[in-house]
């Protein structure tokens, strides 16, 4: 299974990554080898099997619906790249 530089551009966009044309071509070449590796899975007979998403099969533990978190907004925003009045700033989204 091969993958083109265009496919790479599509995947990169989904992942919000930006690759130069040279990087896209290199990624396409590397992908070919990685896909060959993961395509080996197709030879396994897995018809009757349930997928295993988690090694230890338990369910999500629940807790009481009580407030346990402290408001640490100021502390946590000390390391924000850009914020004002408790809000994180990003380039304008809405015209």
């Amino acid at each position: 299974m091969s993958i083109s530089a265009n496919d790479i551009a599509y995947i990169a966009n989904l992942a919000r990554l930006q690759l130069s044309e040279a990087e896209q071509q290199e990624a396409a070449d590397n992908f070919k080898n990685i896909l060959a590796l993961i395509d080996q899975m197709q030879s396994a007979d897995t018809d009757q099997l349930e997928p295993l998403s988690h090694a230890i099969e338990t369910s999500q533990p629940l807790r009481e619906d009580l407030v346990t978190e402290l408001n640490q907004r100021d502390e946590l925003q000390k390391i924000a790249p850009k914020c004002e009045q408790g809000l994180y700033l990003v380039p304008k989204v809405i015209e």
């Binding site: 990554l17 690759l19 396994a44 380039p91």
Partner: protein
């Protein structure tokens, strides 16, 4: 004094042979002198370490010292340490000062350790050689031209070069066990869920597990006693009682049934490494264990399944790095999309971007069933193989790595060659089982690691097995002249 392990340091401090301040000062000086050769540390916590050491000595003077009070330790730079840079080996977090302590860090602080610093690692724990770090490659203390293994290469090199007596580390596909093998150390990955992942920067959430890199099994047991336990802050941490992991260290191994998986002794295994492993297995027979051949028939699928599951989980976990709330932000973003794309593309290295894309692809519409679901089904096959083998034997043993440490820069052409480094270790993470790598020989003066895999929550047994081996062999005491 910097050649001592944790247990020895604990006894020496209790006996008043030296103070924690003296020991810490000695380590800090040694790191400043020697680490330029290895690049094992990203951040040295000089002030904090000395202040913790003094506090430890005061506590001891008042008769209030515990077992690990004043013992120096290093943390892999994947654990959040409050007020201290936590980079995960990445430009993306180069400016990140963690606002809280990981549970593992907090537990060690409560135990009274002295944190020497944060160790180097493959970026976001993705790698098997510690060559993908934003802070440069780590060099193996046994031979500086060689890799220490990865992703916990910094922790491994620091312990091997006596730049700390022990270190924390993490293992998602072999990232503790393989560097332990390459650096002649004891590397323990506990059962998934045994140690809390709160504050441990996530790579692949169903596979990641914190563990230890030490000079001995006894030291690993002392560390696990601090680290293990249920944490309500980590809903994947298991609510099963912990034990004293040192209690069974001296149990005799008579009657132990050891499984030797046929698939781990096949093509690709270096002949000298194999000979060392077989010699080690013979030692276990002398200790009263019996060897039995077992089969893990789906072994060959483990790397394929892992390189779908781990990147898929990573693509989700790393989507939080967007230049908005913390971490790297590109200059002058033109719009929101530019902010995301350039922050991420400039902040992440090549291997990280590659794995994010593989994961995104495997989860995308049209490929989800063929790749992600298929991989999860293979994961069940692999777990079933282990379950079946464990009805016949108590533990499984084999080589940790197909060969000894390789040259820095020699495997960067094809990512798949690097992925195959973890061929014996990966299945253990997929199945969630505990595994330990212990030094079992030398080939051309380079360490060889023996991997021991146990049933869920059998850490006491693994440590017992390792400790008994370390009573009758001295591979774990071999150390490079540094």
């Amino acid at each position: 004094m910097f050649r001592l392990g944790i247990a020895e340091i604990s006894r020496a401090l209790a006996a008043g042979e030296f103070s924690s301040e003296e020991l810490t000062t000695a380590y800090l000086a040694r790191i400043k002198e020697k680490d330029k050769d290895f690049n094992a540390y990203i951040t040295l916590c000089e002030e904090q370490a000395l202040s913790q050491a003094k506090a430890a000595d005061s506590k001891r003077a008042k008769g209030e010292a515990d077992l690990l009070t004043g013992v120096p330790l290093a943390h892999k730079d994947i654990f959040c340490t409050k007020g201290i840079k936590t980079s995960c080996g990445s430009r993306m977090l180069d400016n990140f000062i963690a606002p809280y302590d990981a549970t593992v860090v907090d537990k060690f602080n409560q135990a009274g350790i002295v944190m020497l610093g944060k160790t180097n690692m493959d970026e976001f724990a993705m790698g098997s050689s510690n060559e993908t770090s934003y802070y440069g490659a780590v060099h193996n203390p046994w031979n500086k031209e060689l890799v220490p293994g990865g992703s916990s290469g910094g922790s491994a090199a620091a312990v091997a070069a006596h730049l700390c007596p022990a270190a924390t580390a993490t293992d998602t596909g072999g990232s503790i066990r393989q560097p332990a093998a390459f650096c002649g150390l004891t590397g323990l990955k506990p059962t998934y869920g045994r140690v809390s992942r709160w504050g441990m920067i996530a790579f692949a959430s169903s596979l990641d597990q914190a563990g230890t890199l030490t000079r001995s099994a006894e030291d690993a047991a002392l560390m696990l006693n601090v680290m293990a336990g249920h944490d309500p802050l980590d809903s994947t941490s298991i609510n099963i009682a912990t034990e004293d992991y040192t209690a069974d260290l001296n149990k005799p191994l008579k009657g132990l049934k050891i499984g030797i998986p046929v698939q781990h002794f096949a093509e690709g295994l270096n002949a000298d490494v194999e000979q060392n492993i077989r010699n080690a297995l013979a030692e276990f027979e002398k200790l009263g264990a019996t060897l039995k051949e077992v089969s893990l028939p789906n072994s060959h699928q483990s790397v394929s399944a892992y390189y779908v599951i781990a990147p898929a989980e990573a693509s989700a976990n790393l989507s939080r790095y967007d230049g908005v709330r913390y971490g790297y932000r590109c200059d002058d973003p033109q719009d929101l999309e530019d902010l995301y794309k350039r922050s991420r593309s400039e902040g992440f290295g090549t291997e990280v971007k590659r794995r994010i894309m593989v994961g995104t692809y495997a989860l995308s519409a049209g490929y989800y069933d063929a790749y992600y679901i298929k991989a999860q089904k293979i994961r069940r096959l692999i777990k079933n193989d282990f379950d079946k083998a464990f009805t016949e034997v108590d533990v499984i043993m084999g080589p940790t790595s197909p060969h000894t440490a390789f040259k820095i820069g020699s495997q960067t052409n094809d990512p798949v060659t690097m992925y195959l480094e973890d061929i014996y270790t990966i299945a253990v993470n997929l199945a969630g089982l505990p595994g330990i790598s212990i030094p079992a020989g030398l080939v051309n003066q380079l360490p060889v690691g023996l991997q021991v895999i146990g049933k869920n929550f059998s850490e006491s047994q693994l440590l017992n097995i390792a400790h008994q081996f370390q009573q009758v062999t001295d591979w774990h005491t071999q150390t490079p002249e540094v």
